[in-house]
Symmetry: C2
Subunit: 338 residues, 2 copies
DNA sequence: AATTACGATTGAAACGGTTCAAAAGGAGAT
DNA sequence: ATCTCCTTTTGAACCGTTTCAATCGTAATT
């Protein structure tokens, strides 16, 4: 037995395919009686409209794509969840791809997603120190609906929803200074990339505003933004600098820092205050709960989806860069409070 | 300027649309010269085939759906990554939906995904204590390609790839007993659900095989499988039972346990040995690295995708239940070793 | 009874590809 | 020059919807 099509339904219901289609789309021009009749047949046959034929007619797949560095860091997992919720409100589905922080892989996925017919794309930029962005330029040229989330590529026009990374770093640093810490370091990544640049800037400004001398050597550039990166950074600089305050660029990295300090027998926060960034789910539930900066994930995601649909549906967007406020969470890993 | 279609390409190249189509599909019946000519025009125009039209013709979207409880627990994030890799090898994309451990939500997403035309579905069953599974029955009736991952619904025929949960719990428990621990508890969920049932069974059997009396009251049924669940379970039973060994059903929960013990001033592992399950990324990098059971995520995922494509492409599948071996990771949160 | 008005229904074009039987073209043999 | 045989190419049918101008039916109006 072949596939059940709208024709079968129409034949059995004794109406035209147009009528069936309109019924299914809830058009008001079909009489109630006919609707009821048609729906009965639809249910009896277990008919479902063919999504491909539909998409072809409507030229929309009602699905959008998400490109993220990966989901091992649950920060991105939380973003994925929030995006899915926002997409579902608009009856859209989400496809996802993992870039592993490589713009090359990102380009490949963009291509794949275009071939799948997604209506728009949300991209969390890869933290790639030598990015090749031709694929993004392409998308912009063809005016493809695209919004960056959480960061953007500094060399390209942005349609971005992110949080105010600098201000989080600023407030955190100020509280560390205010708590009397004298030797604070920031473990960061390649300063040409926005997320690092912003945080470094917040860090610097906190010193400036506090009237304390800023030592650029206290910004440690680590290459991996992972646990291992944090671990290795401590390995490299601890004995030399003997910091009493350590700000890691994200929570996973901070966990690496804590783990290494712990194994060196250094007490947290008595000897060293540590803070992370992102407030991932596990940060608050660690043995030593982590002082960190919470990003407003769910609002970021709903704004991003909103902006994306503005683009998809051809509306003007008012602001191309939306920066939402963050909030610092003071926990036991630091003596700083506010 | 309208959309560029295959007709435009054909016209400019001076050939028929059939030829262009065959060229793009790499058919061997088109002469090299023509191919070259056509490709030139394609590139010049920046033509891309319309995915909707293609899907309609081919009746395949080259995309599959993943239904998972959520991505806050990075165990599922790691699964998503691994699945994406496996899907990409077959040039497929992945859509995802989040069930929040509710079969009702799962049903809704199944419906949505069918409407999107996914070719098949990978479902990580929701840990829902009163599941409504009619949507799954539907899928099975219509013979829709479907495989369960990580667990299955006990009341339904399974096409499942999972790990041998019981054996992990068994080995872990045995090592706890072997280390001389006398008062071991297991914090689990609703025993009617497969993942809990299996682990409880492994737990029980370890006592049996060790000739130590098994106390069913030492299986604590917690309602949330989250951090809070672990935290609350300790709150509830610690003072009464005073366990010296605690097995949590997953790592996140174990972190909740550790956090609560820590705040009570109880030392790990000196006073209490703790173990989790899953070996999520953060488990090894905690302040006190967690003894846990690693599931072979990447193999599970590639097997699941393999099985799914067997179903999609109409091949017979040999085994409906694949159980892969796990490996216990002994770390500092327990005195147990092997 | 004829006309009008309007809501309900029809039917065919359009969406943009793929596929394949049939036609065309070209080379080699007679 | 004609015939065969093979390789290329063509063109139309098809995939299953949506949409909308045109038509139909019915009831109200004159």
């Amino acid at each position: 037995m072949g596939k059940i099509t709208i024709k079968d339904v129409a034949a059995l219901a004794g109406v035209s395919v147009g009528t069936v289609s309109m019924t299914l789309n809830g058009s008001s021009k079909v009489s109630e009686k006919t609707k009821k009749n048609v729906m009965e047949i639809v249910n009896k046959l277990g008919y479902r409209r063919d999504p491909y034929a539909r998409s072809l007619s409507l030229s929309s797949s009602r699905s959008i794509g998400l490109l993220a560095p990966g989901f091992r860091n649950s920060f991105f997992g939380e973003i994925a969840e929030a995006l899915q919720v926002a997409a579902e409100k608009r009856n859209n589905s989400l496809m996802f791809g993992i870039t592993n922080d490589s713009t090359k892989q990102e380009a490949k996925l963009v291509d794949q997603f275009l071939d799948r017919g997604v209506d728009g794309l949300i991209i969390i930029p890869a933290e790639d120190s030598s990015p090749d962005l031709s694929h993004i330029r392409n998308l912009l040229n063809m005016n493809f609906p695209l919004v960056f989330l959480s960061s953007y590529y500094s060399s390209l026009p942005m349609q971005t929803v992110m949080s105010d990374l600098a201000s989080g770093a600023y407030e955190l640093t100020k509280s560390f200074i205010g708590a009397g810490l004298k030797n604070i370091i920031l473990i960061s990544g390649e300063p040409s990339l926005i997320p690092f640049k912003e945080r470094i800037e917040g860090f610097r400004k906190a010193f400036e505003d506090s009237g304390v001398e800023y030592n650029p050597d206290h910004v440690i550039i680590s290459d991996g933004m992972s646990f291992e990166g944090g671990y290795a950074a401590i390995e490299k600089v601890y004995d030399e600098i003997k910091p009493d305050g350590i700000l890691a660029i994200n929570d996973v990295m901070a966990m690496g820092v804590i783990s290494r300090l712990h194994s060196k027998g250094i007490r947290i926060p008595e000897d060293v205050s540590v803070a992370g960034y992102d407030d991932i789910a596990t940060s608050s539930i660690q043995e030593t709960p982590l002082t960190t900066v919470a990003q407003p994930i769910s609002e970021m995601c709903s704004r991003a989806v909103e902006m994306l649909f503005d683009l998809i549906e051809g509306r003007e967007i008012e602001k191309t860069l939306v920066k939402l406020p963050v909030s610092v969470k003071y926990r036991k890993s630091s003596i700083a409070k506010e």
